[in-house]
């Protein structure tokens, strides 16, 4: 059945992102046919072969220099056709979220997004994904000749590359400037230089108990910096103006999947839990021993966050 898996490998500053290795390694582990990589634009593809790609389908054109839905959709369609793959796999990133539904509608291909698990069932890739903000999980089966899946970052560990090399196959997608429908006119850095919440390995989040933006900035941000973590916040903290809306974790914010999630003064409303319950290790600090967050925490400290957070920061920098 299977003609293999084509993995969309995203690049940053000319190098593959970590998610590219996660996807390639998972694709190999699925054992559902040959694994190849899809690369849009120029970039150093030498690390893709050792991580499992047999071929790299590389689409380069001046019109692909910056992102546009129109040009990328065409590039994806051309690479998919060139590879003959029956499965397209991508990370659940902002690019994938924009381009893949459009591609799916164009090709009449089934699309399973935000998977946290990918299995091989009789040679066919089946995804499992959270719905209702993680209150339930469901298997997603695709019944069309081509299936498209996105995987949430950090769903599978990335191990050392096994070795191997890939053949680069240039793909001419016939993209031109007229395919650039919506043009990126400016790119600006958001508030911080740390990883995206959705891709972060470590997150320190603050809640309403911080009582103000000043305290949030004085307590949550330095602890996050000490850990190399990304800052998150509960909806209550965001609505009160302590943190930016892009920092909200939960059902109406970001859904995160880090190795370590530290919740400071967050009670654990069902909407917040929905956004972070898959974190590998959850640490909760809260004055209220009855707070629901403690039912989900790997480790809990019942105490005043204004005392605990600075102690934690000091302990981390000491050892």
């Amino acid at each position: 059945m299977s003609n293999g898996i084509l993995v969309f490998c995203e690049f940053e500053a000319g190098r593959p992102r970590k998610t590219a290795f996660e996807l390639l390694q998972r694709a190999v582990a699925l054992g559902a046919g040959p694994v190849s990589a899809l690369v849009v634009g120029d970039g150093d593809t030498s690390a893709l072969g050792p991580n499992g790609a047999g071929k790299v389908y590389q689409v380069s054109a001046p019109a692909l220099a910056s992102y546009s839905t129109g040009a990328y959709t065409k590039a994806f369609a051309a690479a998919l056709a060139a590879s003959g793959a029956s499965t397209l796999l991508a990370s659940a990133s902002s690019v994938a979220r924009d381009v893949l539904p459009r591609l799916a509608a164009r090709l009449g291909a089934g699309l399973a997004v935000e998977c946290t698990e990918l299995r091989n069932v009789g040679g066919k890739v089946v995804g499992r994904r959270p719905v209702y903000a993680g209150k339930a999980l469901v298997d997603v089966t695709i019944n069309s000749p081509v299936g498209i899946f996105t995987l949430r970052p950090n769903s599978y560990p990335v191990v050392a590359a096994a070795g191997g090399s890939a053949t680069v196959v240039p793909v001419d997608a016939q993209v031109s400037d007229s395919d650039v429908d919506v043009r990126v006119t400016d790119t600006v850095a958001a508030s911080s230089t740390t990883a995206d919440l959705t891709e972060a390995e470590r997150i320190v989040s603050g809640g309403r108990s911080l009582k103000g933006k000043e305290q949030f900035d004085a307590v949550v941000r330095p602890l996050a910096a000490a850990l190399g973590a990304t800052v998150g916040a509960s909806r209550a903290a965001v609505d009160a103006g302590y943190a930016g809306h892009g920092e909200q974790v939960g059902q109406t914010g970001k859904v995160v999947n880090p190795s370590l999630y530290i919740a400071l003064g967050i009670s654990g409303a069902i909407q917040h839990l929905a956004g972070m319950r898959t974190s590998r290790v959850i640490v909760a600090v809260n004055k209220d021993a009855e707070a629901p967050i403690f039912q989900y925490a790997t480790y809990g400290i019942v105490g005043d966050l204004f005392e605990v957070a600075p102690l934690l920061q000091a302990e981390l920098s000491r050892s």
């Binding site: 509608a105 699309l111 298997d139 429908d181 600006v188 230089t193 892009g246 981390l316």
Partner: protein
Amino acid sequence: MIIGVCIKQVPATDTRIRINAEATAILTDDVKFEINPYDEYALEEALRLKQAGKATEVVTFTVGGADADARIRDGLARGADRAVRIDDPALAGSDSLGLARALAAALTAEGVGLVLAGRQAVDGDSSTIPAMIAELMGAAQVSWVDKFEMDGEAFTAQRAAGGGMREVVAGRLPAVVSCDKGLNTPRYATLPGILKAKSKKIAVVGIAELGLSANRVGAGAALVTFSNMGPPPQRPAGRILSGDNATAVAELVRLLRDEAKVI
């Protein structure tokens, strides 16, 4: 220029869900529904654009039965001019692409120039239908927008990109824009608005009127099927660290380092 706003009713975000016997969907009896929170940003943006003289009419579009009318009326009470509800037995079991086909057909039939939708519905959490609608309508698209400006047929928008970056983008109508938190602060319905909404029209259309054949939508056309729905795995019981704060913190750091190995 007519602005179309896609509105879906979803279980309230504090709902504790129960799963059906077939393990394919949730049970919806006893569930309180509300307008999908992200659709509220879309509706608000549409109303503001109309108030600024940049649109002639705001029309909402919903796929669903008469049970969705209360949410549709809420949209009308906030200021939408009229509503279209697509209701057809053939739609049962549709996947995202089937629903997108129905919505795109209705939006096209009404001559909508700008489609505003929520970035995702907080039930399936798929975030796929706006881009599918754009493809089916041959329109431009921008996903997860938190700033939007329009001047005639030209628009600019801002969105979060990967790697902690933000992008400013520019395009032209027709377009489909999916709306994120931060775009605006949605208004509530006022009492005069609620009274006025009673005389506003909800047009109910079937797929034949939209020129869609039954084999393009519904369970038969679905490329994606759900099965084996279940609760997430229980997390193992956690540990409350005892002692004074300094002792607990020292133990926490030791556990994070030696047991969990995450730092």
